[in-house]
Amino acid sequence: MANTQAVCNSFKTELMNGIHAFGTTVARAGTTKDTFKAALFLASATLNKSTTAYSTSGEVSGTNYTAGGVTVTNANAPANASDVTYWTPSASFAWTTVTLSTAFDAVLIYNSTQGDKAVAVYTFGSQTVTAGNFTLTMPTNDQTTGLLRIS
């Protein structure tokens, strides 16, 4: 037998579940899962890895689009396979009968329970929608393609 250094798989999953607090204070006391939202951003916006929280700056606007975006349907618990913890929303993000005339190319997922803190930015090429539907279909929820993964 030998020891092997590793970040434990259980820890990766526990990170996604808010179990560990490395800071000098415990930042949260809630015992219920958070609500996440998805908002669309213009191609001219500057979202990136340095984005810390949702802001209306650069967000799309148009008929039937509500600022802040849509609530993420979250029926999937984080899971681990092949040393990768992964999580994917359990439903697509959908906007119905919207008109978004100014080109947009990104969606920000953020935690609306925790001060709108940013989670991730996904880009998909510049789009417009005219009196139609816009849908973001989620990838397969597994260790290879899941929307958010810790490897």
């Binding site: 250094q5 590793a6 970040v7 990766k12 990768v84 992964y86 994917t88 009968t97 008109t99 991730a120 996904y122 880009t123 998909f124 090429g125 789009q127 417009t128 929608v129 005219t130 009196a131 139609g132 539907n133 816009f134 849908t135 973001l136 279909t137 989620m138 990838p139 290879t144 393609t145 899941g146 929307l147 958010l148 993964r149 810790i150 490897s151």
Partner: protein, 62 residues
């Protein structure tokens, strides 16, 4: 069948439809454009995210 457009509800048979498929690095985008004559009266978009993002925690020797 009636289709919601910028001109209100229009019979499907009066509209021409064009699908545009665009392959991005991590997404497949399908745009469906509906035309009344030469005028674009509806545009739907579906983005199929093929692969999400990963936080690398690769282990290296100390």
């Amino acid at each position: 069948m009636l289709i919601h457009t910028t001109k209100g509800l229009i019979e499907r048979s009066e509209l021409a439809v064009k699908d545009i498929i665009d392959e991005q690095e991590n997404a497949r985008v399908t745009a469906t454009e509906w035309y009344l004559g030469d005028e674009l009266v509806r545009r739907d978009v579906n983005v199929n995210i093929l692969r999400g993002l990963s936080l690398g925690a690769e282990q290296e020797s100390l």
